[in-house]
Symmetry: C2
Subunit: 316 residues, 2 copies
């Protein structure tokens, strides 16, 4: 594992570092959803974070962790989704350049948002190899620091900062559940939660069509070839190497949900909680409702990761 | 004016009375919307209130203002919308009966929600005369206390409670804007705002197709015959008599907006603020964007009144 996991102290530092820029997102409760689940649910609303997703935390911590000299050369990443946008916004808070490598065929609206946030776009072929090659090329040409979307210590530490807020806002929890994609959120949150209260049970929600984390945990080694097939566009990434180790170390139990279950849960969140959330975020509610007995009577924190949805193309 | 306006002390009492039951809703800010408006906008998210609308505040204050003897006989209202639902939920917090008179032809989903909240429905013909007659009949038969949706001192006091929260959450404001329908919210908020800080300028937003408040203020007397024509279903009521006097006394300036402007603002709130809000709520943002010069550079509180939307029939 070449990328070290963050420590609880690094997560605390991250929280302090991003405080001037990030939003302390609210935690919402809802009597109707509690009754449905038979549990006390605490929704951490990262869809209300800057840029509409938790990704701003990790990107912001990475940007403000750089020395002045490093910062002057900018940052680079390959992501056409929420992380690209978050890195662009984070770079803007420090007034430095952000280079974002995007594959041909990426959603135009997302690219426009990234450009609007001030990033320089670099196009490449839509393969992982082409993205990594282009990012390396930009790094060499500019001296920019690579900020990986999830396999990055500073990014994981930034994501973990939300757990300290959640625990303070809810006066303690029995369990916390996050969606699992690349695993940056799950890793950061697990380290933060157990650093503050080792008794908290950590859970992940993964789409059945992208269950590489479940399979990796079952066989005890990370799967690195897998073609995800799910409507949850934010969770199509494979779990990262350091992230996989964090999930094992912190005994994160993963519950898989069907796309249909996630879409129904998304609808329920819109109608009941009055929040615009992505289908990827809704996996956590789908998982709690699917395994009702497991969560009955417990205080469960659910991380609603983002709200960047095309409201003209809703999945129901 | 037979119904007295609440005093600031009654609003303070209301805030304390509903505190065990109501949610202290978050105030959200958004850099993108601030830039669009050229102002500092503070969104008071009453769509995140219990029942999905600010109406719970007034209904809850009315229910808990009753003596034990009065409470034992229940409460009654005529409203198939958010107030009927709010009164049902408020009555449930005290374990008393709620009677809700609903016109034939009311939206089935809304009626189901009111019944689910525990109310007894009473059907009548879809005219104001029939609704009032049926409510009077229920009152006589049961001894229940009438809780009018807006022309009621306790209801206005309850709605006003949100302003004290908003001012504390925003560290002071130059202006506050609410939508204007029956005027219970606007009256309560104006009295609360000026009781706490007389320098705050009060604004209302009214659909052009339901501008009876604007017309009433212009001619100095309340219009009581008017057929509203607007997509803003929460604002189709005529302004109440005591409410009209409150608006005059507190020099509430009303800005009218077209349905098209409200629908565009609603879309913007969904996409940018990541909140499910009703089109009636979006009138306040539409008004600020329409009169950009008037609000430039000011700290403006905007009350997002509710989020009870049929997500299968969006107006865009």
């Amino acid at each position: 594992m070449s990328v070290p996991l963050p420590t609880i102290d690094q997560i605390r530092d991250a929280a302090a570092r991003i405080a001037p820029h990030a939003i302390v997102t609210p935690v919402l409760r809802n009597a109707e959803l509690d009754a449905l689940a038979g549990a006390q649910l605490y929704f951490k609303c990262e869809n209300l974070q800057r840029g509409g997703a938790f990704k701003f935390r990790g990107a912001c911590n990475a940007v403000w962790s750089l020395s002045d000299e490093e910062a002057a050369r900018g940052v680079v990443t390959h992501s056409s989704g929420n992380h690209g946008n978050a890195l662009a916004m984070a770079a803007a808070t420090r007034g430095i350049a952000a280079h974002v490598v995007v594959p041909e065929g990426a959603v135009r609206a997302k690219l426009e948002a990234i450009e609007k946030a001030g990033a320089i776009l670099h196009r490449c072929a839509p393969t992982i190899a082409a993205r990594e090659a282009k990012a390396a090329e930009v790094q060499q040409a500019t001296g920019a620091t690579l900020v990986h979307p999830y396999a990055d210590t500073r990014v994981m530490a930034g994501q973990g900062s939300l757990v300290a807020e959640l625990l303070a806002q809810s006066q303690g929890l029995d369990a916390i559940m996050t969606p699992v994609g690349g695993g940056g959120l799950s890793a950061g949150c697990s380290i933060a939660a157990h650093g503050l209260d080792p008794s908290i049970a950590m859970y992940g929600a993964e789409p059945a069509g992208a269950d590489d984390a479940v399979q990796s945990l079952a066989r005890g080694a990370r799967i690195d070839h897998f073609t995800p097939d799910t409507v949850c566009d934010g969770l199509r990434t494979l779990i990262g190497e350091p992230n996989f180790h964090a999930l094992r170390e912190h005994q994160v139990e993963i519950i898989t949900v069907s796309d249909e279950e996630s879409i129904q849960a998304m609808r329920l969140l819109w109608q009941t909680l009055k929040l615009v959330v992505e289908v990827s975020s809704a996996t956590v509610l789908a998982a709690v409702l699917k395994q009702r007995d497991r969560f009955a009577g417990r205080r469960v924190g659910l991380v609603l990761t983002g709200g960047n949805v095309d409201i003209d193309a809703l999945p129901w």
